[in-house]
């Protein structure tokens, strides 16, 4: 039978037939030609002639190809081959995927370690990204977040002071750039709510002014918000938080218009607002604080936080300029209270997020980024080791015709598969971390509306991280595996291409060690900061003291005498409670920030310089029992007592820093300075205006220094004045119990105050023990230190796994060398030494780079450090010892194995 394939193929070649179709046509036409050939033979032609005729018919009268050409099956020129290529490509990729899955399944330990490593890195990053995303990247959950501004008053000593209710009222009346203005009292308090069902429960409540929800751009979901009419009428009205309304009332719209009993008084529920209103305070309900009924006396009382919604078309600059102009007018109209008071306006987002959170979030992001980097390095290192071990397999494939691109793709597919598994597991790790976050993150670090959750954006971040990670740790081994010439690699007996790969791995490990050192030093610095903050001598005894802010905002106590009578009555009532040792009043909670602010002071008899005019001291008003209530010792003179009444000569107690600042001339002897201070007069002005009232106070005592903030860098200067001589209506009550839990006193104290304040005109909030204040003040430091230390620990562990892996691998690859050495008479010790030398070189380089990195990292951290320098030798030493100890553990096994190589086994050829 004749063979026609070549003739046919030649004629079909210019057509673009699918390969399978071309084969079919060849088969079919060959059969035809066979039969025609046989027919011609039968007709008497010889074989050659028959073949010639049969073939001629392929071309005459019209050639085959041009007739086939118009057919669809022959006209797949563009789509056909590329489509086939794509199909082949996909088929190839599917094949690669299956192959990669097989390879990874075959090495379960490697796969498990790699996936877990990546999961850890990606998971930690996902969790931190969720926090950063929720706090820094995402707009506030308000309808028009860009138009909502936070407004504060600006004074000589404070950039963001609270706002006076009467100033707010005047701003609202005179401003054109704000569509709405409203305010809240800072702090959320608790109230006892008694429903129609007679059941009493504790609910959180925040006082707000009318217009607050409009200022946030929010509308009521059901009912309405507070109106000016409610304010004028002084109605007892509350608005419910949506989440509370759903949880407590099952989202019943009929609840609007009904009354609830709150702390014994009836309030009308006028509406429900979306939970995003929690941005002003995490509260179950908001009560109306009327502004209209407030007397002029309230102009000098600053207790509001104001918010405003820009009018359409108005800019923040225009609003700032307008409010500044209004503030100037008010200063002229009310010089006694408003002189020197300006306004400070910020976008709400800036105020909500705050510098501390911004810095902390970025710090964590950087730290977890480093950890992810180490994770990638480790997996890359593992892959490099595998690629080294597989180099002959890969070289063989290259020699058999696989292109370099093909092999790189195969290895990249493996990386991608690993990364995908790591990313998926990382998402679970991230979800786990976020689920635990509420227990880990200190209260107040995250603003109320920032709730990091695992959402599409976080998943997207994970996916992106996975892709980058896959490329990051996949390209290096892929490149390295295909770099050498196949012939050389196949020929080489033991080393393969591992010389180059080994160096690459070494650098990867060096990078890991460097990163671990930098992170360890950073964690060390933060831990030392925490120790410094916790161990600081605060100057008083915090345990066993309950504090709460008592706020009789009302014209119920119009005169200072009325206020004092109220305070005395409360003091008496609370003192009578069982378990109460001492009771006192003060405007500032140690470590809790000042509620009153600073005063301008100058010591009489000392030359007044221009600088003196600006000398300020924290102005704290305390009752007579304050110093004994918090165990704050007086280092000289006496405490306030009954002699210091409202009609007596004004007196003051200063603190040690005050003496340092103002009586340095009295000599170096501390006692001499104290003696110099006692009996002197200090002029105290609460305003910077030249015509402000000056009170000359006699210094009767010097109190020990206390900390205003746990991490304050300079001792702060304080002047204490007796409550009797300066009664104010926003003051902390301190209750000391000799034993037991001070927090347990809270309800009793609340009820005791209720017995005095029968009309419930007194606000009680910020109920916290002094220990709680301290813990809150140091919580951020603890959180930062613990988290960074945890990540540094993870980094150290991972880096040591890297060191271990690199050494173990190099030992294995050097087994032959070791065997030869041992066979030639070297002692195991010598082989041991070779391995140690390798390890030493990697560690030394890594440490050198790490210390340099730590210097940069420390500098960057300096903003959150306290009591420790960015380059702290003990911290550095500690970090290095830790690293070396871990490194010792990591290289013990490989070194031991190298020295235990059996020369006979190795030399026989593995």
């Amino acid at each position: 039978m004749a063979e026609w394939t070549n003739e046919l193929r030649e004629r079909l070649a210019r057509l673009s037939l699918a390969p399978e179709r071309a084969a079919e046509i060849e088969e079919e036409l060959s059969q035809h030609l066979d039969e025609r050939h046989a027919e011609l033979l039968a007709e008497g032609h010889d074989a050659a002639e028959a073949r010639r005729i049969a073939l001629a018919e392929l071309d005459a009268p019209l050639a085959l190809a041009p007739q086939l050409a118009p057919l669809r099956q022959a006209r797949q020129p563009e789509p056909a081959p590329s489509g086939a290529a794509v199909r082949r490509g996909w088929a190839g990729l599917a094949h690669d995927l299956r192959h990669a899955a097989r390879v990874l399944r075959a090495q379960p330990l490697f796969t498990l370690v790699a996936v877990l490593t990546l999961a850890l890195g990606i998971g930690a990053n996902a969790a931190i990204f969720a926090v950063v995303d929720a706090s820094l990247l995402r707009p506030l959950p308000l309808p028009e977040p860009d138009r909502v501004l936070a407004i504060a008053e600006r004074t000589a000593s404070e950039t963001h002071a609270n706002v006076s209710p009467l100033n707010l009222r005047d701003w609202r009346q005179r401003s054109r750039t704000f569509a709405h203005l409203g305010a809240t009292q800072d702090g959320v308090g608790g109230m006892v709510m008694t429903g129609a069902d007679g059941e009493a429960e504790m609910v959180s409540r925040q006082w707000v002014t009318a217009g607050i929800f409009e200022a946030l751009g929010l509308r009521a979901i059901v009912g309405r918000t507070f109106s000016e009419d409610d304010d004028r009428a002084g109605r007892n009205a509350v608005v419910l938080n949506e989440s509370f309304w759903r949880a407590r009332y099952g989202a019943d719209p009929a609840i609007v218009g009904t009354e609830v009993r709150l702390d014994g008084e009836m309030f009308t529920i006028v509406g429900v607002v979306p939970s995003s209103a929690e941005i002003i305070g995490r509260s179950n309900l908001w009560g109306l604080a009327p502004l209209q009924s407030m007397g002029e006396r309230m102009r000098g009382v600053y207790f509001l936080r104001a918010y405003g919604l820009l009018a359409p078309g108005a800019s923040i600059d225009a609003a700032t300029a307008e409010l500044a102009a209004i503030a100037d007018t008010l200063a002229a109209e009310h010089p006694a209270t408003n002189a020197g008071r300006g306004v400070a306006i910020d976008p709400l987002q800036t105020r909500v997020v705050g510098e501390d959170l911004r810095r902390t979030a970025l710090l964590f992001l950087a730290v977890v980024g480093f950890v992810l980097l180490i994770c990638c390095a480790n997996v890359a290192s593992l892959m490099l080791a595998r690629a080294g071990a597989r180099s002959r397999e890969l070289a063989l494939r290259a020699a058999l015709g696989a292109s370099r691109a093909r092999i790189v793709r195969q290895l990249l597919v493996e990386s991608a598969l690993l990364a995908a598994a790591g990313g998926a597991a990382g998402l679970l790790v991230g979800a786990g971390i976020l689920a635990l976050a509420p227990w880990l993150v200190p209260d107040g670090l995250l603003p109320p509306t920032v709730a990091p959750t695992l959402d599409v954006r976080v998943v997207g971040f994970c996916a992106l991280a996975t892709v980058l990670v896959g490329l990051a740790f996949g390209l290096l081994p892929a490149w390295q595996a295909t770099a050498g010439s196949p012939a050389r690699i196949i020929a080489s007996e033991t080393r393969g291409s591992t010389a180059g790969g080994g160096r690459l791995r070494e650098w990867v490990v060096i990078g890991e060690v460097a990163t671990a050192v930098a992170l360890l030093v950073g964690a060390g610095l933060l831990l030392r900061t925490l120790l410094a903050v916790e161990g600081v001598d605060r100057g008083y005894r915090a345990s066993g003291v309950l504090t709460l802010l008592v706020d009789p905002i009302s014209d119920r106590y119009p005169t200072p005498a009325d206020l004092l009578r109220f305070y005395d009555a409360v003091e008496g009532e609370v003192s009578a409670l069982p378990g109460v040792e001492r009771v006192a009043w003060a405007t500032t909670r140690p470590l809790g920030g000042s509620s009153f602010g600073s005063a301008f002071v100058s010591v009489d008899g000392l030359p007044v310089t221009e600088g003196d005019r600006r000398r300020t001291a924290d102005y704290q008003i305390v009752s007579n029992g304050y110093f004994s209530a918090v165990d704050l010792p007086l280092v000289a003179g006496r405490a306030f007592d009954a002699r210091d009444g409202s009609d007596s000569a004004p007196v003051a107690i200063v603190n040690e820093a005050f003496v340092q600042h103002h009586f340095a001339d009295a000599g170096a002897d501390p006692q001499a300075r104290l003696a110099a201070a006692l009996g002197r007069r200090v002029a105290v002005r609460l305003s910077a205006r030249p015509d402000a009232e000056v009170v000359q106070r006699l210094i009767v005592g010097v109190a020990r220094q206390v900390k205003a903030r746990p991490d304050e860098r300079e001792d702060f200067v304080q002047v204490y004045v007796p409550l009797a001589q300066n009664p104010v209506d926003d003051i902390f009550l301190f209750v000391r119990t000799p034993s037991g839990d001070a927090g347990a006193l809270a309800d009793g104290v609340r009820r005791a105050i209720g017995r005095i304040d029968t009309e419930r005109l007194v606000g009680i909030r910020d109920v916290l023990t002094l220990d709680g204040v301290v813990a809150e003040a140091t919580a951020r430091h603890r959180f930062r230190a613990v988290l960074v230390a945890a990540f540094a620990g993870v980094a150290l562990l991972l880096a040591m796994v890297g060191v271990f892996g690199a050494l173990a691998c190099s030992v294995q690859q050097r087994a032959r060398d070791s065997g030869v050495r041992l066979a030639l008479g070297a002692a195991p010790r010598d082989v041991f030494r070779v391995v140690l030398r390798d390890a030493g070189r990697m560690l030394a380089l890594g440490i050198a780079l790490g210390v340099a990195g730590a210097a940069v990292f420390g500098q960057w951290l300096s903003g959150v450090l306290y009591g420790v320098q960015p380059l702290d030798p003990p911290t550095l030493l500690g970090a290095l010892s830790l690293l070396l100890a871990a490194a010792g553990a990591a290289l013990a096994l490989p070194a031991w194995r190298a020295s235990r190589v059996d020369p006979v086994v190795v030399l026989r050829g593995e």
Binding site: L29, Q31, E57, Q67, L71
Partner: protein, 117 residues
């Protein structure tokens, strides 16, 4: 009477008469390519021949149009062969073309005055 010139046949093929010939061959039963060419030769008493270069492109075109269906048939001890059969559409087309052709031939006869009865 001479053989129909193959050039003429190719022109006719383009007009559709060759299609009619093929469809008619396959009306009774499925045939493979070589059988089709032999059947045409026999039925035309050797006057009409389809060479391989013309036959198969035409078969493939009719197949692409959906008038024919080709399928590989394997028989014991033989090479597999590709048999062509009319599809339902092919049968309809054949009926219509046959009608048209008849009309055409009658018209030609009348015009040219040939004495075909």
């Amino acid at each position: 009477m001479t053989d129909i010139d193959t050039r003429t046949l190719d022109r006719e093929m383009k007009k559709g008469s060759a299609e009619l010939v093929i469809l008619a061959c396959l009306e009774a039963r499925a045939l493979h390519g070589y059988e089709i060419s032999k059947r045409i030769e026999q039925r035309s008493a050797g006057r009409m021949k389809f060479h391989i270069a013309s036959l198969y492109p035409l078969l493939y075109r009719l197949e692409e149009r959906g008038w024919l269906k080709g399928r590989w048939v394997e028989k014991a001890g033989q090479r597999r062969r590709r048999y062509y059969e009319l599809t339902a559409q092919g049968h309809r087309v054949l009926a219509r073309q046959r009608e048209t052709w008849k009309t055409f031939v009658e018209a030609m006869s009348m015009i040219t005055g040939a004495d075909h009865g």
